[in-house]
Symmetry: C2
Subunit: 413 residues, 2 copies
């Protein structure tokens, strides 16, 4: 097979049906951004939108903005946009709070539907905050719930009628390994087990089909592939069949049937709104709406196809260019089993990643030794993969990563 | 006594030691804004700050912004600013989530410190979301906790060793009636009862002294007198004596001892950080920081003094100008017993308020019949009170408030 080169990658960009979408983002010159799986890039529309919301809506209309500019509808309006990206109906999704808090709400709701079961099943690769929220809820309930963690590949076999909820993240944040959502949901359904999926690394990058796979509950993140900005609000999904028979314990006024009646007793609103708690974060939601608008007129199947192709290209190029450099592929090599990222283990992964970032190739590091490279199909180009691997090759061949400043751990990795 | 007139009010503005602070805000021309107790006005610095955070920090530095621009420190940095406004130490306050969620955290924490007591004592005038959160938590715990609601004036007498927590809002959101925090805290302490204060209508408007009055726990709002913008993040306070012996049940990764170690078991961080849950909302917090900066070099005692004077002036002018118009003062007439608002009951309060708003005098309405006028001493002038009462007089004398459009209830009141 002939060696791949940059011209080959440029040719792929020319043929890319999503190439036009990069213009929707501000990507700094000289940067190859492969960390949209951690924080999505800035959409071009966001700054002007925020300025308008701040200066015109808040500044001039003050309190009347709640009605006049539909601030009160933001959780549902954004939820309806996200629903299209995850195979859900508009009235099953709402934007609110953080992913952690939404895990708490939906896990409580699910456990209350299975009062005689006490096992919460998850895997050792799940994102820690999901596991922590389950621990906190179990401690609080003090009714013998147990968070059982098994290896990801053991999940299907461990599903049984003793399990109340199986709570998983579709895409492993470290390795990009993908769970088979349809197979797990089918086994769960057969055993009366409820499913709670974390779509943090799925929504906006994969063709998620929550209703098609019979998912019960799901949550996801606004600041990764959805481009909502640092700390953007999260979302949650509740399948229609559970909406009106399920409650969550965080009884806030925005989940009340009549918030502006100011009654002293809580009555949940009908439908998905009962999963809201406090006052919607208008500024953050305005920014997230611009992130979601970057998906307008975009074919989700094309996103997934490009995501797989970018990952395959990265793996090929690293094999070709970086043989015997101490890198070990930590992601599935088969694209169908992978999310939109590729991770490599390296003994000095932290320092190497800092050296890459200093040279303008931005990925990130996950303990103990993983370098992650994420691919946002809306703005990452094939030529970016070439450039990233070229810099990686150069960094690994040199000694710059041994500099002290690349070996000091920062607060956020 | 001679009648008061506009010239008298203008003279008060000339002597006002806080008059300079109005220039820190964007107040639209022709508007008298008396609803800063619901949504604070836009600080002049906010739009430029948000533009900088969006375009420069997020847009150019992307994921590296977390370390480079101290995003990760925002909850503590803003907490330290708020601490100065509420008589707390910098390491006792943190900004996060919504007031509702913070009630849940601190009420859980408090109940776990009093495992043998099951009464949560509050008053019938408390803001509903606080009561709802207590109901949700009690339901979830299912251990016989009872939310006992009594009239505000009966609180002190109902405090007893049977009570676990007394949970109150210092200033009644409807009437502005003020609780005696020091007296209630003293009685609570004597009976081993923990105190949880909601400072939604206090922080930034009153001289709150949490540590001076021996408060155990408190929460408050970022979008009222703190000018953080619609849906701004909230804050919480935990007295130092409880910090390390208290846990809250919403175990999120930002409350973990080592969030970037990605351990599967939750270990709370030392100190106030354990009350954090998910990823900080950077954009919203940047806006709130500008709101808090409007208090730089401002004497809190002068704020309270002006707040009382504005309320007294409103009451005097309404007496003078609007006698026999169907208005009944619903707030304490003695300023020391009142927060920074004055409310009037009127049979057609909703419609009258809409007519006022249409004429540029913005207050709000609270069911069943209250018109609320709030005073933010940093930007409300004495002449504004004159102008508001003049318009109120004119509206009450005419029939415009009977128009259909003023009688249709909007989603948010």
């Amino acid at each position: 097979m002939p060696l791949l080169d940059r011209a080959h990658c440029e040719a792929l960009d020319v043929q890319d049906p999503l190439a036009f979408a990069r213009a929707r983002f501000e990507i700094p010159d000289g940067i190859v951004y492969l960390d949209g799986n951690s924080l999505g890039a800035l959409p071009k529309a966001t700054a002007a939108r925020l300025e308008m919301v701040v200066k015109e809506q808040w500044g001039k209309d003050l309190i009347t903005g709640w009605n006049k500019h539909g601030w009160v509808d933001l959780p549902r309006r954004l939820g309806a946009r996200i629903a299209k990206l995850i195979g859900a109906d508009a009235d099953e999704v709402v934007v609110c709070d953080s992913t952690s808090l939404n895990v708490f709400k939906l896990l409580s709701a699910a456990l209350s539907l299975r009062p005689d079961r006490h096992v919460i099943l998850s895997d050792t690769g799940n994102f820690p905050t999901d596991l922590y929220m389950a621990q906190g809820l179990s401690d609080l309930l003090d009714r013998g719930h147990k968070l059982e963690l098994v290896a990801p590949e053991a999940i299907v076999d461990r599903i049984s009628p003793a399990v109340a909820v199986v709570m998983l993240t579709e895409i492993d944040y470290r390795t990009g390994r993908r769970h088979d959502m349809a197979a797990i949901n089918a086994k769960a359904k057969a055993d009366g087990v409820l499913t709670l999926w974390d779509l943090a690394h799925s929504a906006g990058a994969l063709t998620v089909n929550l209703n098609g796979t019979g998912t019960d509950f799901a949550i996801g993140c606004g600041y990764k592939y959805l481009n909502g900005g640092p700390g953007a609000p999260a979302f949650l999904f509740v399948a229609k069949r559970w909406l009106d028979q399920t409650r969550q314990p965080l009884f806030g006024w925005f989940g009340h049937a009549a918030p502006f009646a100011f009654e002293t007793a809580y009555q949940p609103k009908a439908g998905i709104d009962r999963f809201l708690v406090g006052t919607p974060a208008v500024l953050s939601m305005a920014a997230l709406e611009c992130g979601l608008a970057t998906f307008d007129d975009i074919d989700l199947a094309a996103i997934r196809k490009k995501s797989e192709a970018l990952g395959d290209l990265m793996i090929e190029l690293v094999s070709q260019e970086c043989a015997s450099t101490g890198l070990t592929l930590a992601s599935p090599s088969v694209s169908a089993e992978r999310g939109s990222q590729v991770s490599y283990a390296h003994d000095s992964g932290y320092a190497v990643m800092q050296a890459l970032i200093a040279r303008g190739v931005i990925g990130d590091f996950r303990a103990p030794n993983l370098m992650r490279f994420g691919f946002t199909p809306l703005y990452v180009r094939y030529q970016d993969i070439w450039d990233a691997v070229a810099v990686l090759k150069s960094v690994l061949a040199g000694a710059e990563w041994q500099r002290p400043e690349f070996n000091r751990r920062a607060a956020v990795t």
